[in-house]
């Protein structure tokens, strides 16, 4: 799917696969039997042979590839933007118009793929020729380019001017229609390769992207060796019985059922339904009095308590009373090391060491000697995960000891008793103020109507309509 740009060797083969595809389309467009029917176009008083209208192009694309008009226009636009077809009337407007606007095929000599990259010398000669032929014919940006080139390749400027003069002389000997054609072709070529400011440069590579072709996964010896190692490890793992796992899902769903607003609704009311945001206000991060459901949720698991900022605060208060607050603070500090900015890791690790691990630290945490030794070693070369083992140790300590005791404590029980059970918001008194809702139909009904309707007309999508409203 990606457009290949630079190969590892650095050779420019820019967008070649896409270009070759476009070229195939162009070639079949020019097929004498199946291609687009050409006609003569009048440009002012001169007749230009072998031209076609925008409509011809779109129609041909639709017919040949069995695509929609939108897609044909889109594809045709690509062909124009990449210079394979150029407009005769407004050459600077590189887009496909689906009307009688005349277009012509670009000669393969001027295709991007054949003449890439366009050389500075050629551009200089082109501009010089334009300048000589008619003074002041160069437009703003062309003048700037001309001057810049004049400075840059000043050493060959005589050659440039000489070439320009030669080409002008040769062109005077051609028939007028041929001359116009050649000029149009060249102009189209330069419009693509040196676009005016503000116009999208379709040859722009964008930031450097590497070629994907060489990095596809190879099914070779290396790969299979890795597979075998992975499989061996996998074989050795401990697998829990499916009955236990399924039971745990059942329990989990049951436990959280009351907390699942989509299934059970919520008190005081679902803000999405009643436009009343009291639920969110009552359950904001830090409220003076939390709801009962929220406090109950802390009993589900230790992580639930830690994930709720209010719960964490309560736990800290409790631990302070027990003189073991340093555990939670240490855990918190380790989280910050783990998830914070990489540049601050060393600094943070140092802080943690000073506060929690150094002998005589103000908040010394009690870790077993093996883990402590490993951690102290690791601190010499701090990285994001250096505190993991110590953090785990303290986490399990809290989980096994402090957490169950907190749940049994007076502090928690009091909070639970005082916790709010919100009143259900009274339903709106005026039914006509309720917004129109469109319910989702029963699955059985959806399949039924799909069968009945066969090819039902698609909705315009302007309103909130569901598929079946006749229930």
């Amino acid at each position: 799917m990606t457009i290949n740009t630079l190969t590892p060797a650095g050779v420019q083969r820019e967008q070649m696969p896409c270009l070759t595809k476009m070229e195939r389309v162009i070639v079949s467009m020019q097929d004498p039997d199946m291609g687009i029917k050409m006609r003569n176009q009048r440009l002012l008083i001169t007749v230009i042979p072998h031209a076609m209208t925008g409509r011809d192009i779109v129609d041909w694309l639709i017919q040949k590839y069995s695509i929609t008009e939108e897609e044909a226009l889109h594809t045709g636009n690509f062909l124009v933007k990449y210079g394979y077809i150029y407009p005769l009337k407004e050459p600077r407007n590189l887009c496909l118009k689906q009307d009688e606007t005349p277009y012509r095929f670009q000669t393969p000599y001027y295709w991007i793929s054949t003449r890439w990259p366009a050389s500075e010398l050629d551009y200089a000669i082109y501009l010089a020729r334009k300048n000589i032929r008619k003074q002041g014919e160069l437009i703003e940006y062309e003048k700037e380019c001309y001057n810049a080139l004049h400075k840059r390749i000043n050493h060959t400027w005589d050659f440039v001017v000489m070439q320009a003069r030669e080409q002008l002389r040769a062109s005077k000997q051609r028939r007028k229609s041929d001359r116009i054609v050649l000029e149009c072709q060249e102009q189209a070529f330069w419009l693509i390769n040196r676009p005016p400011p503000g116009v999208m440069d379709i040859l722009e590579e964008g930031p450097e992207r590497r070629n994907g072709a060489n990095t596809r996964v190879q099914l070779n010896v290396e790969f299979y060796k890795k597979e075998i190692e992975h499989n061996r490890k996998s074989l050795g793992r401990n697998r829990i019985k499916s009955s236990i796992c399924l039971e745990s899902f059942v329990k989990y769903c049951e436990q959280y059922q009351d907390h699942d607003p989509i299934m059970q609704g919520c008190l005081p009311s679902n803000p999405w339904i009643t436009d009343d945001i009291m639920y969110w206000n009552m359950n904001a991060e830090m409220v003076p009095m939390p709801t009962k459901l929220r406090v109950e949720r802390w009993t589900f698991s230790f992580m639930e308590l830690l994930n709720d900022p209010l719960g964490k605060k309560e736990l800290l208060t409790y631990l302070e009373k027990e003189f073991s607050a340093e555990n939670l603070l240490f855990w918190q500090a380790c989280e910050e090391v783990r998830h914070g900015e990489a540049s601050k890791i060393a600094e943070k690790v140092d802080e943690v060491y000073k506060q929690f691990l150094a002998p005589g630290a103000s908040r010394w945490v009690n870790i077993d000697s093996k883990t402590m030794e490993k951690t102290l070693q690791g601190i010499k070369h701090p990285h994001r995960f250096v505190m993991d083992d110590a953090q785990m140790h303290i986490y399990f300590l809290m989980k096994k000891d402090s957490y169950p005791r907190y749940l049994k404590s007076e502090l928690y029980k009091n909070l639970l008793a005082r916790a709010v059970v919100p009143q259900e918001t009274k339903k709106s008194v005026f039914p006509f103020m309720r917004r129109q809702r469109h319910s989702s139909p029963s699955p059985a009904l959806v399949t039924q109507t799909a069968e009945d309707n066969g090819k039902a007309q698609p909705n315009t999508g302007k309103t909130n309509t569901g598929t079946a409203a006749q229930i």
Binding site: P207, C253, I262, P443
Partner: protein, 340 residues
């Protein structure tokens, strides 16, 4: 090629042994286990809000952790941050490349990321001092399209790509920290659990892999799908993974039993799954399909209990808020709908 054949045979025989070991722990069927569970009554969700503003197909959306803001990416070249409750557009970020396939909201709410056929993950800072949303980093190293990206924090992000790898990036320096290679097909999606120590990826090689972030290794591989896995998510308890695939089924893989436990399929559904999201309790699984609908599955009974029908084109993305209040669907019809 004698050596390679031998190695291949050895890998295959080990795979067979693993299959046998997995079968050995299958001591209960789903039906038996959930026979006592209360049946979920038919779930009827209604569209509460429609977010209009995109001009082309929406390819991805992601909720912020505050459950009100969300970000959506569309191929009209815009990333829009919505206040979904008021339906206001908080930010409309124009993208350099319009071929965007994924977007993500940072848990802190300070950044959003997106990427697609430009092979890069672009990170935008939403809270810049001057108020303008600007590109903060462009993470370029993938050799294939970016299919999914998820923030671990303001400092790290994981991306999955069409070059068959997933990469962990350090956002500050814009460099690759770890490359997770092992899939043999395009990685299509990834999901990160609450503890941020592992992540799962689903790929076009029909497998899902669980990776250890710290070690950079694949810990477990789950197979069973018969086609590309397009969507993947963690079951809320963190012990299982749900996947959605082009073979029109969703599967639940348990991490501890190391195998597929439940399949969500119906003979009337013949189109691929594009996106998947569990409700807060995990009892409901919402899955978006190619046939313009979303089906709601009872995760325990493996039955369909509802449909979200309201889009006029393929549902490309789905997400449930962190507080479980609402779900959002994004579609190729250029609208996002909030359901409840």
């Amino acid at each position: 090629m004698g050596e390679m054949e031998q190695l291949r045979k050895e890998a295959e025989s080990l795979k067979d042994e693993i299959t046998a070991a997995r079968k050995a722990v299958q001591d209960a069927t789903l039906q038996d286990t959930v026979s006592g569970t209360v049946v979920v009554s038919r779930v009827q969700l209604k569209t509460r809000k429609t977010l209009r503003g995109h001009l082309a197909k929406i390819y991805a959306m992601h909720w912020s952790t505050d459950s009100k803001l969300c970000v959506s990416a569309s191929q009209d070249g815009k990333l829009i941050v919505w206040d979904s409750y008021t339906t206001n557009k908080v930010n409309a970020i124009p993208l350099k490349s319009s071929w965007v396939m994924t977007c993500s909201y940072a848990p802190s709410g300070n950044m959003v990321a997106c990427g697609g056929l430009d092979n890069m993950c672009s990170i935008y800072n939403l809270k810049a001092k001057d108020g303008n949303v600007k590109v903060m980093r462009e993470l370029a190293a993938h050799t294939g399209y970016l299919s999914c990206c998820r923030f671990l924090s303001d400092a790290e992000i994981i991306t999955s790509s069409g070059d068959c790898t997933c990469v962990l990036w350090d956002i500050e320096t814009g460099t690759q920290k770890t490359v997770f290679a092992g899939h043999t097909g395009d990685c299509m999606s990834l999901a990160v659990p609450l503890d941020f120590k592992t992540f799962i990826s689903g790929a076009c090689d029909f497998t899902a892999k669980l990776w250890d972030i710290r070690e950079g290794q694949c810990r477990q591989t789950f197979s069973g799908h018969e086609s590309d896995i397009n969507a993947i998510a963690f079951f809320p308890n963190g012990n299982a993974v749900i996947t959605g695939s082009d073979d029109a089924t969703c599967k639940l893989y348990d991490l501890r039993a190391d195998q597929e436990l439940i399949t969500y399929q119906d003979s009337s559904i013949m189109c691929g799954v594009t996106s998947i999201a569990p409700s807060l309790s995990g009892r409901l699984i919402l899955a978006g399909y190619d046939d313009f609908n979303c089906n709601i599955w009872d995760s325990l009974k493996a039955e369909r209990v509802g449909v979200l029908a309201g889009h006029d084109n393929r549902v490309s993305c789905i997400g449930v808020t962190a507080d479980g209040m609402a779900c959002c669907t994004g579609s190729w019809d250029s609208f996002l709908k909030i359901w409840n």
